[in-house]
């Protein structure tokens, strides 16, 4: 049981919040557990879930790449909850566990990743392990692969999801089993 008990589905009456929770469940990230913990602060929950879903599943950077990055970040944060969730949409688009694992391993040497994907994976990894390595030259390299809008999209996605993973880690949460909730 997580350290903050989630609300039950019946305790959540706000239609907008209910819809956001359903959208998370349909995507698979987050499952209902994190959403129902957040729902204890309902106004905050709506803002967080909007940002979480938008940054992950919308925008102009490949959702499958973001999913690999999201799992890499959860491993950096030491968070088994978000590290154990998977985007159903990314899996339906062909992402598999071996590619997710490769994104957390020696991706620099992996020819299956493009130079653009490798830059994005390095961006996420270095952000919280070696942020001093993300300098002007690093951003200049990123601009060879991505527009500035895409770099902001990636950076904000990385920062937001890492931050929520840091919080989730302290909650002692684990993914809900399939069919639970």
């Amino acid at each position: 049981m997580p350290h903050i008990e989630p609300l039950t589905a019946d305790e959540i009456r706000d239609p907008e919040l209910q819809d956001l929770i359903r959208r998370g469940e349909a995507l698979g990230v987050p499952d209902a557990l994190f959403s129902r913990i957040l729902a204890r602060a309902p106004t905050l929950a709506k803002a967080v879930l909007h940002a979480m879903l938008h940054s992950h599943a919308e925008g102009n950077v490949d959702h499958r790449l973001k999913e690999i990055i999201r799992v890499q970040l959860a491993r950096t944060a030491g968070d088994p909850y978000f590290g154990g969730l998977r985007s159903a949409r990314a899996l339906q688009a062909g992402l598999d566990e071996s590619r997710i694992a490769a994104g957390s391993a020696r991706f620099e040497d992996d020819p299956s990743f493009t130079a653009a994907e490798k830059w994005a994976l390095r961006y996420a990894r270095e952000m919280y392990l070696n942020p001093e390595r993300i300098d002007a030259a690093f951003y200049a390299e990123g601009k060879r692969h991505y527009t500035e809008a895409q770099i902001m999209e990636l950076g904000a996605f990385i920062a937001f999801h890492y931050g929520m993973q840091a919080f989730a880690r302290t909650l002692g949460a684990r993914p809900l089993a399939k069919g639970v909730g």
Partner: protein, 111 residues
């Protein structure tokens, strides 16, 4: 709130008479989430509940997590406050000189 409150809240809150027990555990929550998350366990959340409602704990936790994520991202972008402590609009170069390469106390900065 003064710059002295902020400095003491960052550096020496545990022994400071400026902060209540509730404020001290909130500051500890933030410090541990960033630096020693393994020390935030069930007993720590029980201690938080002695001072805060669960709604407030969720609010604090998400706020702290958000800041952990975004401050590092913003740090990589190398941008600085638009205004000097005295309220002047300053260039990024001047702002970098004023605020330095790492977060520092603003106590004593001109208002």
């Amino acid at each position: 709130m003064t710059e002295g409150d902020i400095d003491e809240g960052v550096a020496d809150y545990a022994k400071s008479p400026r902060f209540s027990e509730a404020e001290k555990i909130a500051l500890r929550y933030s410090e541990l989430m960033a630096l020693n998350p393994d020390r935030i366990d069930a007993a720590f959340y029980d201690e938080l509940r002695r001072h805060y409602a669960e709604e407030e704990i969720v609010e604090l936790g998400a706020f702290i997590g958000f800041n952990i994520g975004y401050h590092t991202f913003f740090g990589t972008l190398k941008f600085y406050p638009m205004f000097a402590p005295d309220g002047r609009l300053v260039s990024q170069e001047e702002s970098a000189r004023i605020y330095g390469a790492a977060p520092a106390s603003l106590a004593g900065a001109s208002k």
